[in-house]
Amino acid sequence: MKGLFLLALKLLLGDRGKFATLVIGISFAVFLMMQMTSMFFGIIQHSAANIINIGARMWVLDPAIRTPLNSIPMPGYILDAVRSIPGVEYAEPLYMGAGLVHLDDGTYQPVTIIGLDDATLMGRPDLVAGKILDIYRTNAFFVVKDGNYAKLGSPGIGTTFEINDHRGMIAGIAQVPLGSLFGIPTLYTTYTRATEDLPPTRYSISYILVQPKSAQDIPKIEEQVRNLGYLALTDQEFIRRNDQFYEFQTAMGINILIMTLISFIVGLSIAGETFYMFVLDNLERFGALKAIGARGSDLVRMIVFQALVVGFLGYGFGVLFSSALIGFSRLRIPNYAAVINYQNLLLAFGMVLVISVVSSYIGIRRVIRIDPFDVFRS
């Protein structure tokens, strides 16, 4: 069998022009598919950055909230009610809102302000500079050092600034797993200071972060919160809710799906047509092989093998080019929202398999119909 595949490989590599066209065509299609899906997954992932960065096991929120980038404040009694639910280990309020930092050059920079519960600091980030207790210092804020850090002038500890007409001071520099989607710097402070500094609304709790006693308590907590007219979600459920918002309630999901399908069709067209031409060019040889004694199944194996070789090579090059471009883009734009994960790798791989199978099927149909008698008649 190895010899048969080696023969198939030599026939494939022998026609360098068509071989290169096939590999380049599939690489291009994979590159496009990877770019599209990487952007999609990147946007989805970065849009859920706050859920991931804060890291609470459960979140209580207004049922109208679809994505953590928007919050609807809840009255304080909800916090008390949640705390009283059996199965809740502890529950703390979280404030999330937007502020304006007045920069030294006179311009304003929008920021996301996250106010952590004063007593527990639940959801606090890791610090790369400063001490966690410094958050209690007068006007203290922790700034997140991510791709947007420079937009605040890369402030060090002790730097003072003006935020919503209040004085602020950098007391620590934090790091988080994911940068925000819209390129806005993030500041952490205490819940109390956040609600003092930002324009007051009737209610101030954006979210309630809940630590259940055990995983078995989660359904009961969700039900009890539902009875209060609110929604309790685990972090994963909240991330899925956010994903679904972007996938189905914005045009982004469908547009990227269309672009992915177009790149698939482009790849299928190039690979299918070129492979068919390759088979047509070699039809006489396949006929000779059949006359000599090759079984139909041997020819099918050879063609499938050839299609898979170009498919896998194209896949490899496509992923390589896509990774290189994303890597290069990240060097230029630290928060570049594109990720290569197992999902888009599998999706592109699946599409390459489909391209290979369809291309080889077209070729196989032609080869199977060859009458070896034609070899004599030629």
Binding site: M1, K2, G3, L4, L6, L7, K10, L11, L13, G14, D15, E284, R285, G287, A288, L289, K290, A291, I292, G293, A294, R295, G296, S297, D298, P372, F373, V375, F376, R377, S378
Partner: protein
């Protein structure tokens, strides 16, 4: 060794239906070099295809070494061709992107021999036809006579009992054609092997053991060899 009995083959449908071979019968023994001759369109190639297990006849039987080949299923028939028949096609049908050595190894590769084993046997086969020194070249770089010899090496590499030649001199000049067929009779034909050659080239009749004449799909008799 080969018994051809009452073979008939028709092509086309309705009023376009024509008889390519009608009630052909003959036999070929080991060590025999049988020519089937006749004008173009007389049914020689059709008959050759039927004998070699490529084209199914409408009636009659072909028995090779006691086996009625047209009672075999398609896979068994492919195995029969692979193990019992060696083909030298009119246009050689060599693979231009493989070397001469790799071309010769193809029947062994199809028999699931290891690639290296196939190449070793191919080298011996090319040696037998005097082309070992040219084995690394692509067929495109070989002359017509050399390509013919590569095709012969490919046909004999798996030591088949029956060799089939379709118009072996059609693409060669007179001298080269005679040399090749003479070489085949002197070096390739042996007591365990039969060779059937379809030709209308009278210049090579001298090498035949027997010559059968065909016309309009019918065997019209045996020709005397022209010295």
């Amino acid at each position: 060794m080969i018994e051809v009995r009452s073979i008939s083959k028709w092509f086309g449908e309705g009023s376009a239906r024509t008889c390519a071979v009608r009630d052909a019968s003959f036999s070929v023994g080991h060590g025999e070099m049988l020519y089937i001759v006749g004008p173009s369109g007389s049914g020689k190639t059709t008959l050759l295809s039927i004998i070699s297990g490529i084209l199914r006849p409408d009636s009659g039987s072909v028995t090779v070494n006691g086996v009625d080949i047209w009672s075999l299923d398609s896979d068994a028939l492919a195995d029969f061709r692979l193990r019992t028949v060696g083909f030298v096609f009119q246009d050689y049908h060599l693979f231009p992107r493989l070397s001469a050595l790799e071309n010769v190894a193809i029947p062994l590769v199809l028999r699931r021999e290891r690639w290296e084993t196939g190449l070793e046997a191919a080298h011996r086969s090319l040696e037998a036809v005097g082309l070992a020194s040219r084995e690394a070249l692509s067929p495109k770089k070989l002359s017509g006579g050399e390509q013919q010899r590569v095709a012969i090496a490919r046909a004999i590499v798996a030591a088949p009992d029956l060799l089939i030649f379709d118009e072996p001199t059609a693409s060669l000049d007179g001298d080269t054609g005679k040399k090749i067929v003479g070489f085949v009779r002197d070096n390739i034909l042996n007591g365990q092997r039969a060779i059937i050659i379809v030709t209308h080239d009278e210049r090579i009749y001298e090498f035949a053991s027997r010559i059968l004449h065909m016309e309009d799909g019918q065997m019209t008799g045996e020709l005397e060899k022209i010295p």
